[in-house]
């Protein structure tokens, strides 16, 4: 049922897009071809409701998140996009009185099933937070933290290799290689955020969730992180929550628009930004509210 909808959307979108902007159309068609040959969605969410005590924060969210793509969740503050993101690795479990209904599957398996261990789930679905939150430890220990608790390294050399490659993939190695044993909290904000990304990568997750990763950073640090996100797409499935619509347009392949706890529209980023189906999406994107 949902799949049919999606395909209907896609057809409709590509027709419309052609009329507006041939360039986008080209770019878009190629993405669409990719999507057609792609493997099934990495994460499928169906009818997800979230309650904080008696207040309902999310209403029946259906999304398919595709592997090796960046999916952006946009919407005004309090619309539930962060709540949804935190459902994907069950970070909502640690909030008192929060309950989740509906189904979310990762590679076809329900992540809210009783048999699922959140510890393993979170190792597969890593998370980067809004505010850089390095532990008050050295740069090295920050990155080594995850591999240590999951026993990913067999010896010291192995751990060194993991730390180095994680820092390298986060584009931070050159900047910190001489200060691996200085506190991670002493780095600049942008470096701290890349350290947190390196820390997440070090556990070898399949999915990385990013909750407004650039909102506390300056434009230069932001553009570095955006480049990094684009690169990381080759190896990971990325879901990013952002307030910055240009950022969503720049880094993501698909965008979901949330409003008042409901997912209003979901589709290819180009479509959402150039020719959305819903009036509310168009109003939000053109800055009429939010």
């Amino acid at each position: 049922m949902f799949r049919e909808n999606m395909e209907a959307d896609v057809t409709f979108d590509s027709d419309d897009a052609g009329r507006f902007d041939p360039d986008t159309d080209d770019a878009y068609s190629s993405t669409e071809e990719m999507a057609v040959v792609e493997s099934p969605p990495k994460i499928i969410s169906r009818g997800v409701d979230v309650f904080y005590g008696d207040t309902q924060a999310l209403f029946g969210v259906d999304i398919d998140i595709r592997p090796n793509e960046v999916t952006a969740l946009i919407g005004p503050s309090g619309c539930g996009k962060s709540t949804f993101l935190r459902c994907l690795n069950r970070m909502n479990d640690i909030i008192d009185g929060c309950s989740v209904r509906g189904s979310i599957t990762l590679d076809g398996r329900d992540i809210y099933a009783k048999s699922v261990d959140t510890v393993h789930l979170r190792a597969r679905v890593g998370m980067v937070f809004q505010k850089p939150n390095p532990f008050p430890k050295s740069v090295y220990d920050n990155v080594a933290y995850g591999p240590k608790i999951h026993g990913l390294a067999t010896d010291k050399d192995d751990l060194d290799a993991i730390v180095h490659s994680s820092l390298e993939r986060a584009g931070l190695l050159d900047e910190v290689k001489d200060r691996l044993h200085e506190p991670g909290t002493g780095l600049s904000g942008g470096q701290q955020q890349r350290l947190c990304i390196a820390r997440a990568i070090a556990v070898e997750p399949e999915v990385i969730l990013m909750d407004e990763p650039c909102s506390a950073l300056d434009p230069i640090a932001t553009s570095k992180i955006e480049d990094l996100i684009d690169e990381m797409r080759n190896n990971y499935t990325i879901v990013i929550v952002t307030h910055n619509m240009q950022q969503a347009a720049r880094v993501s392949q698909r965008t979901a628009f949330f409003h008042l706890g409901k997912m209003i529209e979901y589709g290819h980023t180009d479509t959402i930004f150039t020719n959305p189906n819903e009036v509310r999406t168009r109003d939000y994107i053109t800055g009429r509210f939010g």
Binding site: N89, I94, H120, R122, F129, N133, F135, G146, I149
Partner: protein
Amino acid sequence: MQLTILLATLLILTVIGFHMGRSRAVSTAVSGIGHLNSLPSYYGIYVAVWCGVPAGVVLILWLLFEPQVVETLVVAGLPEAARTLPENKLDLLLNDIRNLAVGNIVSRDVDPEMQRAADHYASIRRMGGAAMIGVVLALAVAGIGFGRKAISPELRARTRIENVLMVFLIGCSTIAILTTVGIVLSLLFESLRFFQLVSPVEFLFGLEWSPQTALREDQVGSSGLFGSVPLLAGTALISFIAMCVAVPVGLLSAIYMSEYAASKVRSAVKPLLEILAGIPTVVYGFFAALTVAPFFRESGNLFGIGISSESALAGGLVMGIMIIPFVSSISDDVISAVPQSLREGSLGLGATKSETIRRVILPAALPGIVGGILLAVSRAIGETMIVVMAAGLAANLTANPLEAVTTVTVQIVTLLVGDQEFDSAKTLAAFALGLVLFFITLILNVAALSVVKKYREQYE
């Protein structure tokens, strides 16, 4: 009685001054209250301050210095023979004159000379009292007049009041600091007197404590040994036992309360735990002496171990229970202050709750926890009542927790209880012990505060 009425009058005048100032401010503001520099009530306070403060200060100074002035005047009126008496005899004479004047019992026969002196004294007091009332009230009224006259729309009453407040606050903190300095100085001077009698080396490094000094030269076995090492060792032993109880229990319960307990449980358990801090230490002493110590002795008997009925173990254990709320309360605050983002970061990497606590939260909170523990240690070192009741008075130099030991504070108490002359080595020793204790706790507190300070900088 006279003074109460005077104070009440002063207060009433101040209130009147406030209202006069306020209404005057309103009436001077011809073109509306908006043209006043400050709100009308600030002008009221301005006048009230002028009325109350100078009068109050004069009153306090008067009360402080009146007795000396009166005494000097009375002495000046005495005949030559009395004036040249030695100081302590003169004091006695003055005391009798005072008693005679107010109609108390007098320790000697009353001669006309003395009667005259007493009358003189009474008349000076009467005059003084009247003069005080007059001066204070005149000052208060003059203050109202002056303050009221100074009121104009341009007067910056608000900033003036701010300055008055600042001076007042400085005064309060100065009192606190001066008191501390005074206490330290009194300890220091008495200790110096002690060290003239007993050498500091013997006091600090002597291994025996037996503070009995001879009243007569021919008494036997009362040479007086003032080696403080057994006392310090006893203090250290009992504090150590106390911390062995308080730190694990306090810290672990803090971790439970801040990380695991549901908010309902937390709001019920935390106050309960803090009730422990409200129990008077004497009550802990009963508990230690009547319940815990006999229990240890009898359990020891079962296994054939001799445990004295007053033991370091019993005292230390109960003291540890007393300190639990200190450790748990401070640790709980410190752990709760660790940013939630660190917890989420760790949990988001797939760490379990206990891994997060052990590897992220405790290391981040450690300096604060250490600070809290050091504060608890200085509390343990200063504790007296429990030790008096449960650990005994015998100054044994031992590391065996099953024997009776004594602490610095307990010895200070025993040295000063009862009738004592204040110039013997025995009593003066108490001040020297107090000084040592003061330095130990001071160092611990400074260390604790610096550790806590370092911790504060961490998240900024």
